[in-house]
């Protein structure tokens, strides 16, 4: 019996995320914590399973250890399958050659045999850098309806930001006549989301051709998509209207966390129609103490709050002691804010200890920027971390 999957997803998770500085010193960007209990990769993985796509290859390269451990056998996303499921695809040594992934297209090309095991009709290419909820099944339906060889998900962005993206110039029917990668002067504000559906045989053909081209940078946006367009393949855009955020910078990561807050949040992770699955922390319910004040915040299991928490996102097991204040901040798992310490307009990574009376960050209004503390460090009692400062070692102050 021929066993096959209609659509296989390939998730590019090898990026370093260098603009997240201390937060990605030892972990890949898709493994960065988000929204009190999630990691960035939970979003594309949940989108896959919620869209009925149960075969996902996750391509890792930069600091893959924590990401591999997090994904494990894929059970939290219901992706532990006898046929299909989630698979970590690291660069490997082959008989004839071995190499690191050189670009997005090369990474997929090197895993041709993985995709072919499932004889897919379509291949969905995803990246692990975005926070969004999207039904890929609808995009696949559109891909089939237009008879396209490649469909690119696209979103309208403010025109002044369009030059940061791959820009799609389209006909009224949605077909793409021009693709510009990060143009200086964009002709439209329709940005590629880096989400592609390819008809599998076309993808395999163009990846092979791209690999054979010594001048190619082996990149989808720069090489493969323009090559397909030049050859006259049918390429369509698929309009996405909804929340979609690249969390590749400190400020966008902070903003996206804040978007979860409020009665009518900009982005709702508690959507029962589109559950975001994740590996759950093993922790008792959070305890909010007698003297605590918690307002406009998201707090995960295992936290112990005796101080004040305002406009903040606190991950599992965070401790805020009596008299401590956490404001406009994102605190990742296991961080401790001791008595009388203050954390303002900051992102604090896992297992950081902020000793008594220390002050981290400055009020948002002062425009000094977001303070960032890397994981497993200690900020000494009474020490002061200025707004916008990025620290990845134990800190005793100036």
């Amino acid at each position: 019996m021929l066993r096959k999957k209609e659509c296989v997803a390939m998730l590019l998770a090898g990026g370093q995320g260098s603009r997240l500085y201390a937060l990605t010193n030892n972990i890949a960007k898709p493994a960065v914590a988000f929204g009190a209990k999630y990691r960035i990769i939970d979003f594309p993985l949940s989108n896959c399973i919620n869209s009925g796509i149960d075969t996902v290859g996750v391509l890792t390269q930069y600091e893959p250890l924590e990401l591999n451990e997090y994904i494990g056998n894929g059970q939290p996303w219901d992706l532990d399958r006898a046929f299909g499921g989630v698979h970590i695809l690291s660069p490997y040594q082959a008989k004839k050659k071995s190499s690191w992934y050189e670009g997005t297209a090369n990474a997929i090309y090197q895993n041709m045999s993985f995709m072919k095991r499932y004889s897919p009709d379509y291949v969905l290419i995803l990246s692990g850098d975005h926070i969004y909820k999207m039904n890929y099944a609808e995009m696949l339906r559109a891909h089939k309806a237009t008879g396209a060889d490649c469909t690119i998900a696209a979103i309208e962005v403010p025109i002044k930001e369009a030059s940061r993206f791959g820009v799609l110039n389209c006909n009224p029917d949605g077909s793409i006549y021009e693709f510009e990668e990060k143009p200086k002067v964009p002709k439209s504000n329709l940005a590629s989301m880096g989400i592609y559906i390819f008809t599998a045989e076309k993808l395999f053909k163009y990846l092979a051709a791209d690999d054979a081209d010594p001048n190619s940078e082996k990149d989808f946006g720069k090489n493969v998509l323009p090559a397909m367009l030049n050859a006259g393949e049918k390429m369509f855009s698929y309009r996405f209207k909804g929340y979609w955020k690249d969390v590749g910078t400190i400020s966008s990561l902070w903003e996206s966390n804040m978007d979860l807050l409020g009665e009518e949040p900009v982005f709702d992770v508690a959507d029962s129609d589109w559950k975001i699955h994740s590996r759950n922390p093993l922790a008792p319910p959070e305890y909010i103490g007698d003297g605590a004040k918690v307002g406009n915040s998201m707090v995960a299991l295992g936290c112990e709050i005796e101080g004040t928490v305002e406009n903040s996102v606190l991950a599992a097991g965070v401790v805020v002691e009596e008299g401590a204040v956490v404001k406009d901040s994102v605190l990742m798992a296991g961080t401790v804010v001791k008595r009388g310490a203050q954390v303002v307009y900051s992102i604090v990574d896992e297992n950081v200890v902020i000793e008594e009376g220390a002050i981290v960050g400055e009020d948002k209004e002062k425009k000094a920027g977001i303070a960032v503390l890397g994981r497993n460090i200690t900020v000494a009692a009474g020490a002061k971390v200025a707004g916008g400062q990025i620290i990845d070692k134990d800190y005793k102050g100036e």
């Binding site: 409020g262 508690a270 559950k275 975001i276 093993l282 605590a292 307002g295 406009n296 996102v313």
Partner: protein
């Protein structure tokens, strides 16, 4: 591992003590402590002590239990060899479903025969404690006991069936009484956790069957207290016996004490079913004091001295005090609740006032809309 152990958990025994809570479920699946079911504590104690095979004896209303346990993966008990094995009642031409613990044990002799572990750890679900089972088995071996029964010092018990133990200075049980009159003085309450060798248990069951015995407590334990080597293991930590709805209320509230939380949750993990709820949200206007809040809650009102289970909503201007609010209960705007227990999926409409008292909390049954 010096010795191998298999667990047997009785999911239904003592259901009658908490009729409100066990109407639609087993004792094992009664919610406790914000995100747990009673069985999670017995199961976690076993798993944390290295037990990888647990038979769960069921009788009535075990749908909620099956739903909770699933494949056992959340306790790391989805195993090729062993894992969680549900043992529903068995009957054929000669046998009717069991009515006593001894008959229940008889009905699982097939399971016991097929295992190869040295020891059987038997536990009920009405006790909440952080117990080191491996230490109990070590004690059992050291004493060369036939049966080791775990006890906890109490002054009161509300259960309709209980056993008190009187050990001598070596720990050997010299007196074992069923439902004795209580005088208000301290006594040793058997906490329904017991260890035997598998071989001893199988032989005891077979012997009981040939002699037509029916009660494990009366016919085996009390009658043989002089001839069998029954030892008592004193458990000295926090122990909560869910023997009435009032006790259920009190012990939930005990979790608001830091030392109790540290003992139950601090040293080892308590495993439970994972629901993938979003983290809880505390909106502007929320006032939360001295409370345990589970994931998936959305709080707009005031919550004081409460245990909130997963997915609870507290509307604007509502004040909820001294209450236990179970999973997915929705409290509208401007409601007042004091000393209330709401079971799962209750809806409290806007501006309702409900009050009980600490000695008699007001109980709202599952799925009710008030």
């Amino acid at each position: 591992m010096a010795h191998s152990m298999v667990g047997v958990i009785f999911s239904n025994i003592h259901d009658e003590n908490v009729p409100e809570l066990s109407r639609h479920r087993t004792m094992a699946s009664i919610p406790f402590g914000g995100r747990y079911r009673l069985i999670d504590f017995a199961l976690s104690n076993m798993v944390n002590s290295g037990i990888t095979t647990v038979g769960i004896v069921t009788k009535n209303n075990y749908q909620s239990l099956i739903d909770h346990i699933g494949s056992g993966k959340d306790w790391d008990l989805a195993r090729k060899d062993g894992g969680i094995i549900l043992l529903p009642p068995y009957s054929d031409e000669t046998d009717t479903p069991y009515t006593t613990r001894l008959e229940a044990l008889k009905s699982i002799t097939g399971f016991l025969n097929h295992r190869n572990e040295d020891y059987v750890v038997i536990s009920d679900c009405d006790g909440i404690a952080h117990m080191d089972i491996a230490d109990i088995v070590r004690y059992h071996e050291e004493k060369g006991a036939d049966i080791t029964m775990v006890y906890h010092e109490e002054t009161d018990v509300e259960s309709s069936y209980y056993i008190t133990l009187t050990p001598d200075e070596t720990g050997r049980i010299k007196g074992l009484k069923i439902n004795p009159k209580l005088t208000g003085k301290k006594f040793n309450l058997y906490v329904n956790v017991m260890v035997m060798s598998r071989e001893f248990l199988i032989n005891t069951i077979q012997d009981a069957v040939t002699r037509g015995l029916v009660s494990f407590g009366r016919d085996i334990l009390t009658k043989n207290v002089d001839t069998l080597k029954i030892y008592g293991y004193a458990f000295k930590g926090f122990y909560a016996n869910i023997s009435s709805v009032q006790k259920y209320y009190e012990y939930n509230m005990d979790l608001l004490k830091k030392d109790v939380r540290d003992e139950l949750f601090g040293a080892r993990d308590i495993y439970t079913k994972v629901r993938d709820s979003a983290p809880s949200k505390y909106n502007d206007g929320a006032i939360v004091k001295n409370s345990l809040i589970s994931d998936g809650c959305v709080i707009d009102g005031t919550v004081e001295n409460c245990i909130l289970f997963r997915g609870v909503k507290v509307g604007k201007g509502s004040v909820v005090k001294n209450s236990i609010i179970m999973q997915d209960t929705v409290i509208g705007d401007g409601a007042h609740l004091d000393c209330v227990i709401t079971d799962k999926n209750v809806v409290i409409r806007d501006r309702r006032n409900l009050a009980g008292c600490e000695a008699l909390p007001y109980f709202v049954a599952k799925g009710r809309m008030l």
